[in-house]
Assembly symmetry: C2
Homo-oligomer: 340 residues x 2
């Protein structure tokens, strides 16, 4: 398989990108890479060009550019060229640590949507306390407004991903809502609940509240992009703040604190690792014709490496083809809920 | 001042309610209490009936009842009687640890809304790392659907509360959104942003993301009830899960873990206290004609005590009157944003 890599996106590009790509290349014989970016910067970083080629370009999309305009105007940008490689069948999937908005635009306008899917959803994998598989949640911010049929499509796509890529048998699909009762929420969430309950081939377990996500209440959490964004950022912010406070308490706790910290170092490191989602790779823009995966702008080489493995799993498992087949068979429109 | 207390609402009622009320009574000479509930249960718990009277009733609203129906049918329920005492001017404010939905219904149908306020918002006070004042957030779930004018009203009400009850000079008011730029979010949040920017007497600092709430990014966080509910529960769930994991790591860490835990006990206890919001009292149903405040169903006597102090501060500061005056002067309709 061939993966198109935007080598210039991200805070530490191209260095961390190249390092992560080479680690994946060394371990995974089946992957070839095409790196899009400044050859003068990339070439000196490469240990070897085995299964790595470079397509030289000096244009790149900056983080503060208007996403749609940038993608339309900068036709030679590294991200845009990588997207075209996927569109033209030269690559099977695409990686970028650049602007999420620009990647969404490149995905929509160049790679293209799966037939009938209204909007791609942005889907990260998050840790859960009880399972090493974690859980996926979508949409977390590709869209601010959603309709029930879009949430249905997210559920179907997240289900295939959780099953094939995360290896979860019969994933438990749930709707993020403001209570667990079926009648909870606004119109959007009440309608979506009925649709998901009527959907074929989905193990829909009902509503879930954001308080129980990290406890592993569901494997696939379906949410509108606005609420999903708020929940995701609240989880990230709270873990970050709490772990920072604990670290500060240890450092400022004098001899007692430092000694206690030393004794608990292993345990706390274990917790930090457990809640570090980077081993699951990046966030997938699910709903496009090929895997398009976004790593954090601040991603280090290890995260880039895991994101490449994640893309490999999506390509090998033909996740996108399965989604296309499902929608071809069952329709992209949400099923009509049975009246009760 | 007189506070009407629903003595039968909550998991440990009436015991914890009575204990918390007596502690407040012993310390605060200015407060009189009327306890609504089963006198046969309440009387034996009382150390003294100084400034505490009991209105006997055996009817109460259960947690799983339909809120509106329960409030309408159970005319002798402890919560309903307490609400009527406020409505009839016999009490200045009301406390309950019972069903949130029922309290909202009792607030709307019995206590009544502030003229022109569309819907009351549920407002807890949450801790922030940098300030002992914490921050308030509303709405966190009284309403699943909101219009921009309602969010404007939340901003005004939260502002008075933060200033007068929390003692924050010129509170920083922010809109919870999916990005900090003014153009972020769906229609509701874009419109609300413009309205808040045009509102008089509000120190509106723009959008805030849920990742920075605990870091004290704002003093008053304005949000629609659905998003606010998701953010609040994500914060609560993440802190709970993380602190539980740390405790488990200490307990399962053998001698090393236990010794480390012992050394860090004070530091970790400090963090737990810092993130324990119960010292701020309960969640206010803001937008009603009088202070109506809800403690957690699982509230202990200490939380009940702090919630009584919170109610006292609202009555003493005339927070509700100030809100009424503001709306009388500036109108309850959202100001027209200036076109740019």
């Amino acid at each position: 398989m061939k993966i198109a890599v935007d080598a210039m996106g991200g805070d530490n590009a191209p260095a961390t990108i190249v390092e992560g790509v080479e680690r994946a290349r060394d371990e995974q014989q089946a992957i070839e890479f095409v790196l899009y970016g400044d050859e003068n910067q990339i070439r000196p970083l490469l240990k070897s060009d085995e299964r790595i080629s470079i397509v030289h370009t000096t244009e790149k999309i900056e983080m503060d550019e208007h996403p749609v305009k940038a993608v339309r105007r900068k036709k030679q940008a590294s991200m845009v060229l990588a997207a075209h490689a996927v569109k033209d069948g030269e690559a099977d999937a695409m990686f970028s640590a650049g602007s999420t908005g620009a990647l969404l635009a490149a995905g929509l306008f160049i790679v293209g949507r799966i037939r009938g899917v209204d909007r791609p959803g942005l889907m990260p994998t998050l840790p859960s306390v009880n399972s090493d598989s974690g859980f996926v949640m979508l949409d977390v911010g590709a869209n601010a407004d959603n309709r029930p049929s879009q949430l249905y499509q997210y559920a179907v796509m997240g289900n295939f991903y959780a099953r094939d890529v995360r290896g979860i048998k019969n994933p438990r699909v749930a709707l993020l809502n403001n209570g667990t009762e079926p009648t909870k929420g606004d119109d959007l969430h009440q309608q979506t609940h009925q649709i998901l309950a009527a959907a074929q081939g989905l193990n829909f377990i009902g509503n879930v509240e954001s308080s129980s996500l990290l406890d592993g209440a569901a494997d696939v959490v379906v949410t509108d992009g606005f609420t999903g964004n708020a929940a995701l950022k609240a989880i990230e912010g709270t873990s970050h703040t709490l772990l920072h406070e604990i670290k500060a308490a240890i450092m400022n706790g004098g001899i007692k604190g430092k000694l206690g910290g030393l004794l608990l170092k292993g345990s706390i490191k274990g917790i930090v690792q457990k809640f570090d989602a980077s081993r699951y790779g990046g966030a997938v823009l699910l709903g496009l014709q090929a895997p398009v995966v976004k790593a954090h702008g601040a991603a280090d080489a290890t995260t880039v490496y895991y994101t490449i493995l994640q893309i490999q799993a999506m390509v090998e498992n033909k996740t996108i083809s399965k989604v296309i087949d499902y929608f071809a068979e069952h329709g992209v429109d949400s099923p009509t809920p049975t009246q009760d």
